[in-house]
C-alpha cells in the first residue's frame, strides 16, 4: 500500500503544513521505495488543502502521515477512506517505520481553512 507524507525543502524532513508543503513523499510498503513528488497545490492562491487532498487520492494512497491537516482536506480524505495519522517528530523515515510498526496515532483535530480571499 501507499502512504504519503508532506515534506519540506530538505526532502527527508516533514513539513509543518499539509496543503502547501513543497513536496510529498510517497512510500510504497510493498516495494519499500519512497518517491518524492512535487505538490501541485503548494503555490495556489486558494483551496490548497483540497487540491493536495485530490493529489493524495489520485496517488491511490491509503494513508497520510502529517503534523496537521485542515477540515476540508480531512473531509475529502475521510470520504475516500484514507486514514490520517499524526506524525511524531520531523523525520520522514522514522515516521514511515513507526507507521509500519503501528505506533502512530490517528489525527483527530483539524484546523480551519486558509482559503484565498477575494
Amino acid at each position: 500500500m501507499r502512504v504519503i507524507l508532506p515534506v519540506d525543502e530538505e526532502k527527508d524532513v516533514i513539513c509543518v503544513t499539509f496543503g502547501r508543503a513543497p513536496y510529498f513523499a510517497v512510500h510504497d510498503t510493498e516495494t519499500g521505495t519512497t518517491e518524492i513528488k512535487n505538490n501541485p497545490a503548494s503555490q495556489v492562491q486558494g483551496g490548497a488543502g483540497l487540491k493536495a487532498a485530490q493529489f493524495v487520492l489520485d496517488c491511490q494512497a491509503e494513508a497520510l502521515i502529517t503534523p496537521r491537516c485542515g477540515t476540508n482536506s480531512a473531509e475529502v480524505l475521510q470520504a475516500a477512506d484514507v486514514k490520517i495519522y499524526k506524525s511524531e517528530g520531523m523525520g520522514v523515515s522514522q515516521n514511515i517505520e513507526a507507521f509500519k510498526e503501528g505506533k502512530l496515532s490517528v489525527l483527530t483535530h483539524f484546523h480551519g481553512g486558509y482559503q484565498g480571499i477575494r
Partner: protein
C-alpha cells in the same frame, strides 16, 4: 521559540501599538507583519539592512490581446464579476475586479484571452540581527491565506535562536486572520471598550474557538468606557478566556507613533500597563 499573534476584531483598537511595544520589551528578534492589506509595523520597527524582496504572485488573472480581439463580447456576457469592459471596438479586463475564474479564456472564439500570472504584491524579508518579515499588496488585491502563510513561514524559516516571535495580525474575522492563527502558541486579542468593539471581539472569538487556540484578551483605552471594559472582562470570565490587562488612553501613544517610536520607549501610564500585560503574556507562554 514561542509564537505570539496579536489580533483585533476591529481596526484601530491598538493592535500594532501593542505588538510594537512587546517587540521593544522583548527585544524580539523574530517579527512578522501579517496585516498585509495595511502593513504598519515597519513604521516603528526600523530595520537597517536591505530586505530580500520577492514578487508575490497572486491567482492568475485574465488578459485580452487587443490585436486578436474581434469584439464579439462573449467574455463580457459570461463574466459574473463585472471584470470585462468594452473599450471602443475591443474588450478589456479590469484587473482589480477579475477573480481569475478562466471562463472568458474558455469562451473566447479567437484565443484572445489568456490567464497570466498576476504580481499581486511583494514580500520583504529583512535579515539583520532581527528577522522581520512583511509584505505589501497592490491595490485592489485582497489579502489571502497564501500571503499571510508566506510572510509567516519566511520569518519562521529565517528566525534566529530566540525565545519569542511576535506576529502582528490583520483586523477582521476573515480568512487572513484564520491563516495567521496556525502554529501560534498564544493569540492576544486587543479589544476596544465600545459597543462595536465588544461586538467585534465576540465575532472574532467565535471564529477562533474551533481552532482550539490559546487566547487572551486585553482592553485598550479602557478609561474611555469603564462600563464597557467591565462588560468585556465579565464576558471573558464567562467564556473562560484569560483577561490579560487594560491600557489607559494616553496621548503619549500617538505622539510616540507619529515620531516613529514604539510607546515602550516613552515613560508613561500606557507603557506601564503594556509592560504588565507583556509580563502576563510571558507567564501564559511559560517563558
Amino acid at each position: 521559540m514561542k509564537r505570539l499573534l496579536v489580533l483585533s476584531g476591529k481596526g484601530g483598537t491598538g493592535k500594532t501599538t501593542v505588538s510594537s511595544s512587546f517587540i521593544e520589551f522583548a527585544q524580539a528578534r523574530a517579527i512578522a507583519d501579517c496585516d498585509v492589506d495595511a502593513p504598519n509595523l515597519h513604521l516603528i520597527t526600523k530595520m537597517e539592512v536591505q530586505p530580500e524582496v520577492s514578487d508575490f504572485l497572486g491567482a492568475e488573472k485574465a488578459e485580452i490581446d487587443p490585436e486578436k480581439c474581434v469584439g464579439c463580447g462573449q467574455c463580457a456576457e459570461h463574466c459574473r464579476f463585472g471584470a470585462v469592459k468594452s473599450c471602443g471596438e475591443v474588450y478589456q479586463i479590469l484587473d482589480y475586479a477579475c477573480e481569475g475564474c478562466g471562463i472568458c479564456e474558455y469562451v473566447c472564439p479567437r484565443s484572445a484571452v489568456t490567464m497570466k500570472e498576476d504580481v499581486a504584491g511583494r514580500q520583504e524579508l529583512y535579515k539583520g540581527e532581527t528577522v522581520f518579515s512583511t509584505a505589501a499588496l497592490k491595490m485592489g488585491r485582497g489579502n489571502s491565506g497564501k500571503l499571510v502563510t508566506a510572510v509567516k513561514l519566511a520569518m519562521l524559516k529565517a528566525a534566529p535562536e530566540t525565545d519569542l516571535a511576535v506576529i502582528d495580525g490583520s483586523p477582521g474575522i476573515g480568512c487572513p486572520v484564520i491563516a495567521s492563527m496556525s502554529g501560534m502558541d498564544l493569540v492576544l486579542i486587543v479589544a476596544e471598550p465600545s459597543v462595536s468593539g465588544k461586538n467585534d471581539l465576540e465575532r472574532l472569538i467565535k471564529t477562533a474557538e474551533s481552532f482550539q487556540m490559546k487566547m487572551g484578551v486585553c482592553v485598550n483605552k479602557w478609561d474611555t468606557s469603564p462600563e464597557k471594559t467591565k462588560e468585556i472582562e465579565e464576558w471573558c470570565d464567562e467564556q473562560g478566556i484569560p483577561f490579560m490587562g487594560r491600557i489607559p488612553y494616553d496621548k503619549e501613544v500617538s505622539k510616540a507613533v507619529n515620531a516613529g517610536k514604539s510607546v515602550a520607549a516613552v515613560d508613561c501610564p500606557a507603557r506601564t500597563a503594556l509592560l504588565q500585560i507583556y509580563k502576563n503574556v510571558r507567564n501564559e507562554l511559560k517563558i
